[in-house]
Amino acid sequence: MFVRFDLMLGAFGVVAALGLGCDKTPPASEGPAASASTTAVATPTSEGPIRVSGSSALQPLVNAAKEKFETENKSASIEVSAGGSKKGLVDVGSGAVQIGDSDIFAAPDQKDLVDHKVAVVGFAAMANKGPHNAKVAALGLDQLAKVFSGEIKSWKDLGGDAQPIVVINRAPASGTRTVFGNVVLGGDKFVESQTEDNSGALVAKLKQTKGAISYLALSFKDDDLVTLSLKIGADVVDPTPANIAEGKYPIWSYEHMYTKGPSTGTSKQFIDFILSQDFQTHVLANVKGFIPITSMKIQRDKD
């Protein structure tokens, strides 16, 4: 009897300790976030961590830049996360992060956001590889439009074998979907179909699904997939950095880093670092799929 009573009290003790915990935890977790953002606003030159979120296409590049930047500036700290271009724009607008990465231009109503174009990425239609499309290497923009709006349903109509086309989409939040839709379909007019919410999973799905076709950033180009070139007039234009820089291949977008108001302090240093000639030509150009902003011979002011 005595022992049991003793144990019970012990258990109560544990519960009480947990009670202390749950009474105190919520304010504590709000504390640092709130104070971090206020210090960042009040003293922009402070050495608090710079938070970056958004485009998963740009993430590998920002990570590469972060490593080099932090080695050169011992006191600086950059935290990079990804969640899609539109999330990056939402986060930087709300002040949750200092830099929002995006494959697309900010919406017209987000006037307080300042654009920094740091690189260019090309996109292409990519398809499951098989005998059914062995003879299909390039498609016209009109053919692509018909495929992705669901009008053409068989590889036979594209010069391949009789095999149903399975269109796989990215989620609507995807920058890739937005850019590809704007250039190829003149807007988000994709046929409603199977949807993957990130590029990595999409590559796996494309390899697995016979007859499948989708669209990806060229940083995800894969030898086990068919990367389709474009038929423009009588020419076949490959999605190469040179063709994109010269404006011959139209499916590309800027990689933007948005700040709320002009960039200041460490954010500015970090963006300037990425834009520096040294980083653009020696690092960025060697990361798969990225094209230095400095090599572009044409410009755009909307997607």
Binding site: G13, S193, T195
Partner: protein, 313 residues
């Protein structure tokens, strides 16, 4: 706390349990426990209130009628038809309840009425383990093994040129059936074990075989408990998110058959939430769908409550 326990230990001798003991540790502990309880309660109430407010706001913005009857869900174009989502949730949860609960209830009957004692314990432990496997693990296994299988079944049924694939309601119903079966089984075993033994003995004394006893005496007596088990399985299936999202395909349209990609309420919330800026119709409509999901789950739970309260089963 250790000190307080020492005080109690010295203050309460073995034979004098009702003796005087210091009151303040008691009061402090009580306060903490009450505080914790209150915290949980307040959190829940605040959450439901917020969901109700934002959900209703969303309904007034996009309209209840389109939300409940529209057949296209396309928030980026401000089109909010909830039918594909609600239909997907209902069909996959109902399919799961049928496919998963039938074997689960029958194996519970076998376990309580026919299985040897040693098997019983082993079986129970195994089911407890499967009930504890995280849903993302089930989802991943299904994506790798079930979806390709479903794809070949689909092409077998509809022909190799048909617009069908492995992702869809069939896969998600089968996956959910596997996921809810352990829970339904454990709850059914509990319900069947509560059947008084003298009923079984009386049945045997009247000359009924174990088979007749199980199906004509034990199951009818425990039907409420069994129904509660099945409904809980349904509620769990309706709310399951991660695993379903991995196999449902994610197309926001009403599928023509069980082998075409579609979506469910929970899967679509996960898909859309990163795209929804706060205080936009897109975000509010997501809260409306969350509210509908909550109403479905709470409705099912209340129903089981009502059933189990009518009579102890």
């Amino acid at each position: 706390m250790q000190k307080a326990m020492d005080v109690v230990r010295t203050a309460v001798p073995l034979k004098l349990r009702l003796g005087p003991r210091p009151r303040w540790p008691d009061a402090v502990v009580r306060l903490f426990i009450a505080g914790c309880g209150g915290f949980v309660l307040v959190t829940t109430l605040v959450m439901i209130a917020f969901l109700a407010r934002t959900g209703v706001q969303g309904m007034s913005e996009v309209g209840v009628w389109p939300l409940l009857t529209g057949s296209r869900w396309k928030p980026e174009a401000d089109v909010f038809g909830g039918v594909p989502l609600i239909l997907g949730t209902f069909v996959s949860a109902t399919g799961a309840a049928l496919l998963g609960a039938t074997p689960a209830v029958l194996s519970a009957v076998w376990l309580t009425e026919f299985a040897p004692k040693s098997t019983k314990a082993l079986f129970r432990r195994t089911m407890e383990i499967s009930a504890a496997v995280p849903s993302v693990v089930y989802g991943w296994l299904a994506l790798v093994y079930l979806v390709p299988l479903a794809e070949s079944v689909a092409h077998g049924l509809y022909g190799s040129d048909a617009e069908v694939g492995g992702e869809g309601l069939a896969s998600s119903a089968v996956l959910l059936a596997v996921m809810i079966a352990p829970t339904v089984l454990l709850l059914s075993v509990d319900a069947l074990s509560r059947v008084p033994n003298n009923l079984r003995e009386a049945s045997a004394a009247l000359g009924a075989s174990p088979w007749q006893t199980a199906f004509r005496v034990v199951m009818p007596y425990a039907w409420r408990g069994l129904l509660v088990a099945v409904f809980f399985g349904f509620a769990r299936a309706a709310g399951e998110t991660m695993a379903v999202q991995m196999v449902i395909g994610g197309a926001r349209k009403i599928p023509a058959n069980l082998f075409q990609p579609t979506t469910t309420i929970s899967a679509q919330i996960v898909m859309d939430m990163q795209n929804a800026r706060p205080n936009t119709p897109a975000s509010d409509a997501l809260f409306s769908m969350s509210l509908i999901l909550l109403v479905i789950s709470v409705g099912v739970v209340l129903m089981t409550r009502a059933l189990s309260r009518t009579k102890r089963a």
